[in-house]
Symmetry: C2
Subunit: 276 residues, 2 copies
Amino acid sequence: MPWFYEPYNDISAIGIHITDLLHHEQSPFQDIKVHATVGHGRLLLLDDMVMLTELDEFVYHDLITHVPLCIHADPKQVLVVGGGDGGTVREVLKHPGVERVVLCEIDERVTRVCQQWIPSVAGALEDPRVELVFADAVEYVRRHTGAFDAVLVDSSEPIGPAAGLFEGSFFADLRRALRPGGIVSAQTESPFYAAETVRNVFREIRGVFSQVHGYIGSIPTYPSGCWTFALASDDRGPAMLDERRAAALRCKYFNLGIARGAFALPEFARLLIDPA
Amino acid sequence: MPWFYEPYNDISAIGIHITDLLHHEQSPFQDIKVHATVGHGRLLLLDDMVMLTELDEFVYHDLITHVPLCIHADPKQVLVVGGGDGGTVREVLKHPGVERVVLCEIDERVTRVCQQWIPSVAGALEDPRVELVFADAVEYVRRHTGAFDAVLVDSSEPIGPAAGLFEGSFFADLRRALRPGGIVSAQTESPFYAAETVRNVFREIRGVFSQVHGYIGSIPTYPSGCWTFALASDDRGPAMLDERRAAALRCKYFNLGIARGAFALPEFARLLIDPA
């Protein structure tokens, strides 16, 4: 049986033992593949980069969702940018106070493919609280001011369709899209293999928001297995964690310890994220 | 140029882009290779398993060393079990109170090869505080009771020469090798790809020591990139961290935040390590 290898910067690679190619199409935006695997469940590739496997997708989705939502005072209106696979929406819906989740994904085909082939991740998109918007999030965010308690930027790599989601002007628009007390989270790449990207995106976010914190987690099928996230707000920070809500969630990765401990950055990553 | 791939359980693999094979020998215990690489510095393989790369070895060596030594009240006599590459010894020597470090490595050839080919890691073995013992650590520990403030079990995988270092009887011997107030750390494998090993080794350690804690870190070139460690003692625990000493160390991974945050276990790992 074959292996899929994703190389990073020509220095390292992660291999996943695959079996069948369940689906393959070229959408208007990117190449989309779903493989079955020997030990990782279903595998979603966009432009031959690992977006998720069913084995470890819980790490990413827990961290990008529950950290900001447990720090926000009472999130009701949530926007997920990107995240067409539905995993972040699935986690948002675990918060009983949430009234509405908008998923703004540029590529409808990603969502439809995941609904068909990876229902363990995309199944929550059927929930009546979910609104699907297939559009460019840069445009969507610009047209919605003061609308959301939390925006979760669940983007792909900063090349291809997601490049604009790593720019300071996008974060300025996100700031205007927030309601008072609002909060943003974003995936911000590997501190081992994409140090300059991490440094740059945090510099951009710090130019916009008054409170910016980095946090971190272990995702085996992403480059280096070590991944950073940004938490940005003008009003809220990690010290304002709602411990009661955090402890009440039932997750595979997130718990009350992680809600605090994920902000403990290795020194080399802290120097990229918080150089002051 | 070629790639080296290390597969795990036939489900995943990590690839490292290598250049020259600098050294290759079969020792009485194992196959030893040192490669140059495109982006990871020198690479040490034992029986074709990644032991370290110069790019990320600091993570493992920081965690196995500084966490226990900053929790111990005043470590003076330290034993490193395995760790023939010298990286753990290098970190132990950063603690100014340490008077003597014994490295007990079963395979002298590992140490000699690293001294020749990976001096950035093995160079500290020249320090006059270091005593090299090339012997089976199981025997060595049994013959030295009440001798060490800290024992750091820097073993290879629980197959091959290191198998005995994962057994409860070894931890019982370690407990007898400690001076009052003594502490043990040990590498305890990946919670993603070696869940049963993690569960079993913690069960063994809990049968011996009254205070056992798991902690965790991100090592890109180890299986899953996520690695666990055990901290075991009858006297000391994470709450007894010496913050002054932890903050004074200059490391690439360890810092005061990590000294606390590394004990925040993802929920699925917590259930393996601390099932009660």
